[in-house]
């Protein structure tokens, strides 16, 4: 694969949070590694899915990528069309402003992510005013164009967010992210707060917009069926690390990591006649401030072996494009979901 296919490369990204436990900061302050040493790349025009359970660091990773929070260390390399690359995390002033336009974000909660005191028009046009110097009619045209594209009723743009339903609000959030015509949108659980019938509408809109505006999505979600539906490649996270990364079909049909297998088998299947073999994991996700030694997954892993509790497995390329972090990846025969055509 040539370098020009890549739009974003994340290298050794780590984010630690300091937690103060003692009064006045005495004593040792433990750090929580929410994201530890993650590296992957995103191809131009694809949808890259990030899945994991709560607390696995997927949202933190997404926020680090858009510089919503500052990463402790690592790089987020952005590849321009002409092949030059810029580290977004170290970009200053002009460069930063330029990249800001190119990387946008959609948030999970359509209720708290919109300012209740701004009209929808102001919300959607704000990024435009911040990034470009445009005249009023130009802004007007752009807001209307994007509003239409996201399925908003243009005549309601002067209203405030409270007058809109959850699905409509999420469209406002999408319009706000889309208005600067970004190359990358980080979607942080954009449909998980919505009802099933509305969820399908939003997923369809996201797909349509991607085709129309040629965007790349980083799609963060915990719902595996939604991620399968929308993503080209998927990464599974567990306690701040990527444990498996592969093209969607490969991952879902032939998972290589025991955690992926368990996750897939745990998804309730909306078909009472096709029951899967279910792997019930013992225990719960450990606290990230005190993760288990070795492979973080080993206390819950049904296949754990000798070295699992002492040696941390590295993420490596097992097959073409299929990365996995497990000592036994090439020995295990794991079952995925059955392909039905």
């Amino acid at each position: 694969m040539s370098k020009s296919d890549i739009i974003l490369e994340i290298k050794n990204l780590t984010k630690e949070f300091n937690v103060k436990t003692k009064l006045f900061g005495y004593g040792k302050t433990p750090t929580i590694k929410a994201v530890s040493d993650i590296s992957f790349f995103v191809k131009r025009g694809e949808t890259f899915g990030l899945v994991g359970e709560s607390g696995c660091g997927k949202t933190t990773l997404g926020r680090c990528i858009v510089r919503g929070i500052d990463a402790t260390s690592g790089q987020v390399m952005y590849y321009m069309e002409d092949g030059t690359k810029i580290d977004f995390l170290k970009a200053k002033e002009e460069e930063y402003k330029d990249l800001r336009k190119r990387i946008q974000m959609i948030f999970q909660d359509p209720y708290s992510s919109l300012d209740p005191r701004m009209t929808v028009y102001d919300i959607i046009s704000e990024p435009l005013k911040a990034c470009y110097k445009l005249s009023k009619p130009e802004i007007d045209d752009r807001v209307k164009e994007i509003g239409k594209a996201t399925g908003l009723d243009i005549s309601y743009l002067k209203r405030y967010p409270h007058a809109f339903s959850g699905g409509q609000r999420q469209r406002i959030g999408i319009a706000r992210a889309l208005i600067t015509l970004p190359d990358i949108i980080v979607c942080d659980e954009p449909v998980s707060a919505l009802d099933v019938s509305i969820q399908a509408q939003i997923i369809n809109i996201l797909k349509d917009l991607q085709a129309e505006y040629k965007m790349t999505y980083i799609f963060i979600a915990h719902d595996l069926s939604v991620v399968e539906y929308i993503s080209d490649r998927v990464a599974v996270m567990y306690l701040g690390r990527i444990v498996e990364l592969a093209p969607t079909e490969k991952m879902y049909s032939y998972p290589k990591h025991p955690y992926t297998e368990a996750l897939l088998s745990a998804v309730p299947n909306p078909d009472p006649e096709r029951k899967m073999r279910r792997i019930i994991l013992q225990g719960e996700v450990p606290i990230p401030s005190n993760p288990p030694a070795g492979c973080h997954f080993h206390p819950r892993c049904p296949y754990r072996g000798k070295e699992c509790d002492s040696v941390i497995p590295e993420l490596y390329e097992l097959e073409d494009g299929h990365y996995v972090a497990c000592h036994y990846a090439n020995k295990l025969r794991l079952s995925g979901i059955g392909q039905v055509q």
Partner: protein, 356 residues
């Protein structure tokens, strides 16, 4: 139906024409409007629907724990095996000794938010013991033993120590287990589970569902399972009722509902969830939004969003409940003339096409 007829059959509880209306300044909000369904002994009945369809209010109306602003009418007939009689739970005075004797003992409930459903001020053990002490025994020591056994039964390790801990020391999944332990401590005939796994992660959800399945067999209790997740319904239920805007639009056994969904809303719901391992076609989506159930006309509430709508019929008349077979009811004009096989075949073919 007279009491005698029902005593020996397998229906544990029957909801008949249940209405929960809420008076607001803007008008009467018909949150639940004429819901009827039976719950069979030892079986799981699922209530599925989107937010605001009245599924939670329905379940809470059964044990009369809705706030006073809700005006509840209808009948909730509960067969009390101990007294061998049928009681209409809605006739009992709110918070009277009779209903309190049933609540927590014969019918208990678990809630969606394991974080807020426990009191943060009392230990888990005391909260479980409270239920046992009220309904089962007076001896504290014995009650504690029962509580410890229950906690062990739901898979909490180190129950002797855990029993003295406060809810904040438990994780989400553990709290939901403790909640189940509390609900089952008096061996109820019916467990009402209001979105018990919605706040949990998939792997924990799988654990809790598995546990509920096991315990149901062991305790031979019926479950009323409320959720918005069709996958969970398919996983755990025997029968399903689909709710839309305060009404049950379709009711069938779980296999029948997924194989032969008849109501346009049910079909839309099933088609609009992405299914793993299927070819990726464009997702079907039901247009529009769920309207507010304020002053709704006595016609089909789904009319505006329905792709099979018939002007002059669906938006003008009261929709009949049509019994397609013994265990399949649908509330839709499309099946009004069941002789109208053409229409039906057309829809059936289409459903099959969508399945492939």
């Amino acid at each position: 139906m007279r009491c005698e007829d029902r005593k020996n059959n397998d229906i544990l509880l029957e909801v008949r024409n249940l209405k929960v209306h809420i008076k607001l300044d803007e008008g009467i909000l018909k949150a639940v409007d004429g819901v009827s369904f039976p719950i069979k002994r030892g079986k799981t009945m699922g209530l599925v629907g989107e937010s605001g369809c009245g599924k939670s209010l329905t379940s809470k109306a059964i044990i009369s724990i809705n706030p006073d602003i809700c005006q509840t009418t209808g009948e909730v007939l509960f067969y009390d095996s101990e007294k061998n009689e049928i009681i209409n739970l809605l006739e009992l005075e709110k918070d009277s000794a009779e209903i309190r004797d049933i609540r927590g003992k014969k019918i208990s409930m678990i809630f969606q938010e394991p974080m807020t459903a426990f009191s943060p001020l009392h230990t888990i053990g005391n909260q479980i013991m409270e239920n046992i002490l009220i309904h089962k025994m007076k001896n504290k020591k014995e009650a504690k033993e029962v509580a410890i056994n229950m906690l062990k039964r739901v898979g909490i390790a180190d129950a002797e120590k855990r029993i003295n801990q406060y809810p904040h020391e438990f994780s989400g999944g553990m709290r939901q287990r403790a909640m189940i332990a509390m609900a089952l401590s008096c061996n109820p005939d019916l467990l009402i589970a209001d979105e018990p796994t919605t706040a949990l992660d998939v792997t924990i959800q799988a654990q809790v569902l598995e546990l509920m399945n096991q315990l149901q067999k062991e305790y031979e209790m019926a479950i009323l399972f409320i959720t918005h997740n069709l996958g969970v319904i398919a996983e755990i239920c025997d029968e399903v009722a689909v709710m839309y805007l305060g009404e049950i639009v379709e009711r069938a056994s779980v296999k029948e509902l997924f194989r032969n969904p008849r109501h346009p809303y049910t079909k839309g719901l099933i088609k609009s969830i992405p299914k793993m391992g299927r070819k990726k076609e464009r997702l079907y989506s039901i247009e529009g939004n769920v309207p507010l159930p304020l002053d709704l006309p006595p016609a089909c509430h789904f009319y505006e969003r329905c792709e099979y709508r018939m002007d002059g019929i669906c938006n003008k008349q009261k929709v009949p409940e049509i019994q397609l077979s013994e265990d399949h009811m649908v509330k839709c004009f499309l099946y009004n003339n069941y002789d109208n096989i053409k229409q039906d075949n057309y829809i059936k073919q289409e459903t099959e096409a969508a399945d492939v």
